[in-house]
């Protein structure tokens, strides 16, 4: 049994829906049971949100969910009827009908459990179950949507609940690459990547898979195959263990360009300061990214962190309020930054990798503004104008262009 997820681009037109259905039909004819999870067609969701904004300045989240959920419930029956036209028995199910039970947080609901009775019934009858992604229902059948990465999350969660052999994520790129090919022409497709590596890559700018879906895949050991819906070549398998010969190396270079930095200057070094700064940001939905606190001297410290450039104005307003409260000397900020990261379990206990990263950037005369690391990732904040050069230099330095292409 296989779960296949088709994104908005893959089902963007009637012609593309037909192509998707031919692919599903092939999988069925090869003897597999198929659950297809589908997104809204192309820009349908954007158009529904634009409509909402024309009738309401601040659309309430419950009603926005009721509205936006139509995007996926339009695609699902179109796919089901197209499959039937190809002689493949199929039935469409809304998220609620498919048993996707969620929390009550409209527009960012979390999946609580899957009650897959209707899907199993359809599969037993030899049908393809076509499930509207991105949506579910609370216990009392209020319609919810899952927020960013929602359809991927539906697909991987269904694969976990059904004990499927794999979850295929069909998208408009070939899979997970060693870097963004618009920046690094030599970027290569990865045949395998670990869940942890994928999570780190997703967090630092590789947009192909949302971390939520990867986390569920990791938790329930669902192999996730990220591949293109436009050709038949295999893409990237996200799995627990990558093949041995790939393990001892950096796997990819990711970057993100719209980064701004905020510094609280000379903050008294006492417990609770960081919480006082970051709690109001979190409460306003602002994601704080790299955080660096310099070593304290004379009881004072500088606290620097990055936010998405679009959040800078709101973040600054909040931080300036807190600055007085915590008796900081003031704040400073700068725009025009970028984040460049290398990721790979290979760097676990391999200190040479950080050194090689810094040396590579130094040789390219790129100044490092901030550094942040996890066990399998090193991130540097650099000037935005240096970002593409940094990514290319690192891609070469770690020999990512040498990875053998998949067969």
């Amino acid at each position: 049994m296989i779960v296949q997820k088709y994104g908005g681009t893959s089902v963007g037109t009637a012609g593309r829906i037909k192509r998707v259905c031919r692919r599903i039909a092939e999988t069925v004819r090869s003897g597999q049971q198929v659950v297809a999870v589908v997104s809204a067609m192309g820009h349908t969701t954007d158009r529904l949100i634009a409509l909402a904004q024309r009738v309401s300045e601040t659309p309430p989240a419950r009603e926005l969910d009721m509205l936006v959920a139509n995007g996926e419930t339009i695609t699902a029956p179109l796919v089901a009827m197209c499959l039937q036209g190809l002689g493949v028995p199929a039935i469409s199910l809304t998220g609620p009908q498919a048993g996707v039970r969620t929390s009550r947080q409209h527009s960012k609901a979390r999946i609580r459990e899957i009650r897959p009775e209707r899907i199993l019934e359809a599969l037993e009858q030899g049908k393809v179950a076509v499930v509207a992604g991105f949506q579910g229902a609370t216990e009392d059948l209020e319609i919810t949507t899952l927020g960013r990465g929602g359809s991927d999350t539906t697909a991987v969660a269904l694969a976990a609940a059904l004990g499927a052999d794999a979850c295929e994520i069909y998208t408009d790129v070939d899979g997970i690459l060693t870097a963004d090919p618009r920046v690094v022409p030599e970027a290569r497709l990865l045949t395998h990547i670990g869940y942890d590596e994928m999570l780190e890559l997703a967090a630092v700018g590789a947009k192909v898979m949302h971390p939520r879906a990867v986390e569920i895949g990791q938790l329930y050991s669902v192999p996730i195959h990220v591949r293109s819906s436009f050709h038949r070549r295999t893409g990237t398998m996200i799995v627990a263990e990558v093949p041995m010969e790939d393990r001892n190396r950096v796997r990819g270079v990711a970057h993100e360009k719209q980064v701004a930095k905020i510094t609280l200057l000379s903050v008294p070094d006492r417990p609770g300061v960081a919480a006082a700064v970051f709690e109001p940001l979190g409460a306003h939905g602002i994601s704080v990214d790299v955080i660096v606190q310099n070593v304290s001297s004379e009881g004072h410290t500088d606290l620097t962190f990055t936010v998405a450039e679009g959040d800078l104005a709101q973040a600054l307003a909040l931080v300036e309020g807190v600055a007085k409260e915590v008796q900081a000397r003031g704040t400073s900020h700068s725009l025009g930054l970028a984040k460049v990261s290398v990721v790979g379990t290979g760097m676990l206990g391999t200190p040479g990798i950080a050194a090689r990263m810094f040396r590579t950037l130094a040789e390219a005369k790129i100044n490092i503004e901030m550094i942040s690391t996890s066990e399998i990732r090193i991130t540097c904040i650099v000037e935005r104008e240096d970002a593409e050069r940094a990514v290319n230099a690192l891609h070469s330095a770690f020999e990512l262009d040498q990875i053998p292409a998949p067969a």
Copy 2:
């Protein structure tokens, strides 16, 4: 408590949705509880059906229902969020959430019952319940649509189940007129009309209200107010008893232009012939309209009936098959006909009305091809080119232009 139904034209754009919401807000502020039933915006349903036809030659009815139901479930949350923006508490409900339980016949489901708990809960909380019209669910929560007149039917059925004081049908015309104003410039608005009269008018070409909804109104004594969503003037009340001074007269002249006639020639006059002819037509969804069987002579009879011109080819094919079976001499048919009817409880036991109709047509040199009557309706089939003259002549002859305009 009042149920208001807004049709597709009334909610066709964001601007029109705002206007509808201002009207609902006024009703709420006047102290009434409001349930708003909404249709799909403008041509949304047509667009969804066109999409279906691009991916499937014969879209199965279940999937088509899943698809088309999105039209109304897009409008409902838009109206609810717009109302909230105007300071009016509101909640949208899909047909299934609103408790509309139907039969299993996809694309033409019948309402079995209404379980209005969620609507009542919303009203108790001081909210407007905005219900997606035209749709419901079976016992096992399969989504169904109600077919033609579906949103009107939802509205009147909800009004009946909730014991509402009235059901207002907002539409793009002023109400029920004595004739089609595009044909008869002197046509006047009727302030009141009886359920029976409305049913007869709807059956013979007045398209404003679908007979299904009128039947439910009659059965449960729900007063139905048909009125324009574009101005504030009252429209037509459909009620059990029309005011005394309106009772003894013809109420309206209706007509329909796309009529064709089929005759089975010289059919043996024995039991079962009519059933043999009309059963296959019914099984193929072809509505047969006026049926006339001439007085039998020498054991044979001619059987003539009308169908919509668009159904002629299919009907003829079926009838020619039957003709042999029942040993008729053959079939004949003609196109280019029209149906002209006068309706009014006033003609009950008033034979002079039929005579006046025939006399009026004779004086206008209009030949009558067929005649059919009910207790409160007389219908003549005439040449299509005579139809407009016939309608105008009858409108004058029965002094329908003399009805006082509503205050």
